[in-house]
Point group: C2
C-alpha cells in the first residue's frame, strides 16, 4: 500500500478505511500526497436523495438540514440509511507535492470517488440549495487522497452534464469490457434502459457489437427509447417479476441475453436478470439495491451458470470513455440534457 488510501483522515473507528469510517477528519490542511478542492456543487446519489425526500415528504428545508447534519457529524456526505453518497464538482485549490493525480491549482474537476469516503466541510449552510433536487450548490472544501480519482471537466460540456455522466461512468466502461470478451453474435439486455447508467450502457453495448434490448417499466419510457433509437428493441416489464422479465427479453431477442445489465434502483431484480441471461452469460449488477444473497442463492436455485459481477464504479479511463459516448451518440446526449434540464 505504497499510495495513500486516506487512513490518516479516519477519526473513528480507528484503523478502518475512510468509507467504512463513521467519522472523518475534514480539516482543510493537506498532506504531501493530498489535494484540496474548493467545492462548488454536490451531486447526491439518487437512492440517498430519494430516501431523504421520502423521509421528509419533500420538505426542502428539512432535507437540507439533514444533509448539513450528516456532513457536520460524519465529515463526509455518507447517508447512514442508504449507505450511499454521490460526487462533487469544484476547483483545485492546492495539490500536495507528492500527489500522483496530475492535478494543479485552478483545474475545474469532478471527483469520481464516492462522497462516502471524501472528507467534506460545508461553509455556506447550503444556503443556495432549495433541497428540491439532488444537485446541491455548495461552498466548502473537500480532500482527495493519493489513491483517488478525479476528472478535469471537459470544455465542450456543461458542468452539470459532465457531472451527471461521471456519476455513472463505471457502468458503460464495464459493460464495454464485458461485452467485448464475448466473441461472435451477442446480445445485451439492460434493465432500466431509460435511466442514466442504463442509456449509457445501451450505447456502450451497441458500440461493442451487441444487439440490444431495453427493458423499461412503462410505455412512456419505451416510446422515449424508441424515438431516440437508443436500443434495437424495447420491452415493458416490471423488473421485479422474474418470469415477466425473462419472457420480455426472450421475446425481444429470440433467446436469453448474452449479457444482462441491471440499472434499476429497486430491490428484487436479481432473479429476473439471472433468468433472462443465457448459460455462460454474464449479469452485471449496477443497482445499489442489489441483494448479494438473493443473487447468489437465486442463481443456485435456478441452476443458472451465469457469471455475476458486482458493478465496480472504477475502471481506468472510465470518465473519458463515458464523455466520449455522449459525444458519439447524440441520443444519449439528448437524454442527459433533458434530465439535467428537468431538475
Amino acid at each position: 500500500m505504497s499510495v495513500s488510501v486516506g487512513l490518516g483522515r479516519v477519526l473513528e473507528p480507528a484503523g478502518v478505511l475512510p468509507q467504512a469510517a463513521w467519522r472523518l477528519d475534514a480539516s482543510p490542511e493537506i498532506g504531501a500526497d493530498e489535494v484540496r478542492i474548493a467545492v462548488e456543487r454536490l451531486n447526491l446519489d439518487a437512492a440517498s436523495y430519494r430516501q431523504l425526500a421520502e423521509k421528509h415528504e419533500g420538505d426542502g428545508d428539512a432535507i437540507r438540514a439533514e444533509v448539513l447534519e450528516i456532513v457536520g457529524t460524519r465529515g463526509k456526505m455518507h447517508n447512514p440509511v442508504t449507505g450511499s453518497g454521490g460526487m462533487l464538482i469544484g476547483v483545485v485549490e492546492e495539490a500536495g507535492p507528492e500527489s500522483p493525480l496530475g492535478l494543479k491549482a485552478g483545474d475545474r474537476v469532478a471527483t469520481l470517488v464516492s462522497l462516502t469516503l471524501t472528507p467534506l466541510r460545508i461553509t455556506d449552510g447550503l444556503s443556495a440549495w432549495d433541497g428540491k433536487s439532488e444537485q446541491v450548490p455548495a461552498a466548502g472544501t473537500a480532500i482527495l487522497f493519493g489513491r483517488s480519482v478525479a476528472a478535469v471537466l471537459p470544455d465542450d460540456l456543461a458542468p452539470e452534464l459532465a457531472l451527471a455522466v461521471f456519476d455513472v461512468c463505471g457502468a458503460p466502461a464495464l459493460t464495454d469490457r464485458v461485452v467485448r470478451e464475448y466473441e461472435g453474435e451477442k446480445t445485451v439486455a439492460v434493465l432500466g434502459g431509460a435511466g442514466k447508467s442504463g442509456s449509457l450502457s445501451l450505447a456502450a453495448a451497441r458500440l461493442a457489437g451487441a444487439r440490444t434490448v431495453a427493458v423499461v417499466v412503462n410505455d412512456e419510457e419505451a416510446e422515449n427509447i424508441r424515438r431516440n433509437g437508443l436500443a434495437d428493441a424495447t420491452a415493458v416489464a416490471d423488473a421485479r417479476d422474474p418470469v415477466a422479465v425473462a419472457r420480455a427479453v426472450e421475446t425481444a431477442l429470440g433467446a436469453p441475453a448474452t449479457v444482462t445489465v441491471v440499472c434499476v434502483d429497486v430491490p428484487g431484480c436479481e432473479h429476473g436478470a439471472i433468468l433472462a441471461t443465457a448459460a455462460g452469460g454474464t449479469v452485471i449488477f449496477f443497482s445499489m439495491a442489489t441483494s448479494f444473497p438473493a443473487a447468489a442463492l437465486g442463481a443456485e436455485g435456478l441452476a443458472a451458470d451465469v457469471t455475476m459481477l458486482i458493478g465496480n464504479g472504477y475502471l481506468p479511463g472510465h470518465a473519458e470513455f463515458a464523455v466520449d459516448l455522449l459525444r458519439r451518440v447524440p441520443a444519449v446526449r439528448r437524454l442527459f440534457e433533458a434530465r439535467v434540464a428537468g431538475h
Copy 2:
C-alpha cells in the same frame, strides 16, 4: 425459458417462481422433463430447525407436527418464519424422457437445490423421526424440475461427508474456473482458508497452477493449514481489517494476489479483499455476509481495477469436481472427516 423452472408446479400466487410461491403442487405424477425421487431423509436448514425447536421448546412431537403441517400446506418444506429450507437424500423412482439431469431409476442422490423450491409430499407422518434433530428420516416423494440440480452420492464416501462437500461445492469449481483464466504466474489468497469452502478453494487454486496463501483468524488455524500442507503460505489476520489483510497477503506473496477468495462468513470483509488484490485481478465473494454496496463503493473508493464476482453456488459439474478434490487431496479429506465427526 425453454427448460422448465417449475412454473407449472406453482399454485399460488400464480406467475412467480417456485421459491417465491406460497404453495406448490407436490403431486407425484411427473412431467416429461421432471424427476420423481423417493425420499429417505430431509436435512433441515440449521436456522429453520432452530426456530422450530425454540418455538416448541424442544418438544419433538410438536416440532414434527409443525413440519408436517408446513409440508402439507405449502407442498414444500419452506419454513415461513426463517424463509429457509434445507436439502434431501433419496432414490430416483422415475425420470421423465426429456429430463436433462442425467439421472436414472435407482440412483441414490442428494438434491442441491433448496427445499424451499422442491415439491414435497410426506407419506409416513415422519413416524421414524423423534423431532430432536435436523436430520429427518422420511418417506414420500419429491420432484426435480428440468432445470434443477442433484448429485449422485459417491460409493466411496459416507453420505454425511458427501453432503458436507456438496454444501459448498460451488466455491472450488468457480475458483478453478477463474484461476485458469489467468495466464502465467499467478497467486491466490483465500480469506477463511481453514473452513470447508476455504480449504476446497485452496486445493482447487493450487491444482489450477496458483501459488496460494491462506489467511486465517488465529495461530491454531494457521498451524492446522501448515501441518496439512493445504497452502503454500499462511497468514494470520482479522479479515475485517482491510489494512491488516492487505499487508498480510503482500508479505506472504511478495505482492497483492491475482485472485482473492472470500470464505469468511462475517460482515465487513469486502475492503480487505479488494485491497489485497492486484490491479486486473479478481475477487470472488462466497460469504453470504457480503454487502453489495460495500464491495461496489469500496472498489470505486480505492480506485481498484478488480473484477468482483458474486459467488454462484452452481456450475455444471461442481459436485463431481468437489468430490474429486476430496479424493485427490488427502489433507482436505481429513479436514472434512474431522468436521463431520465433530458434529
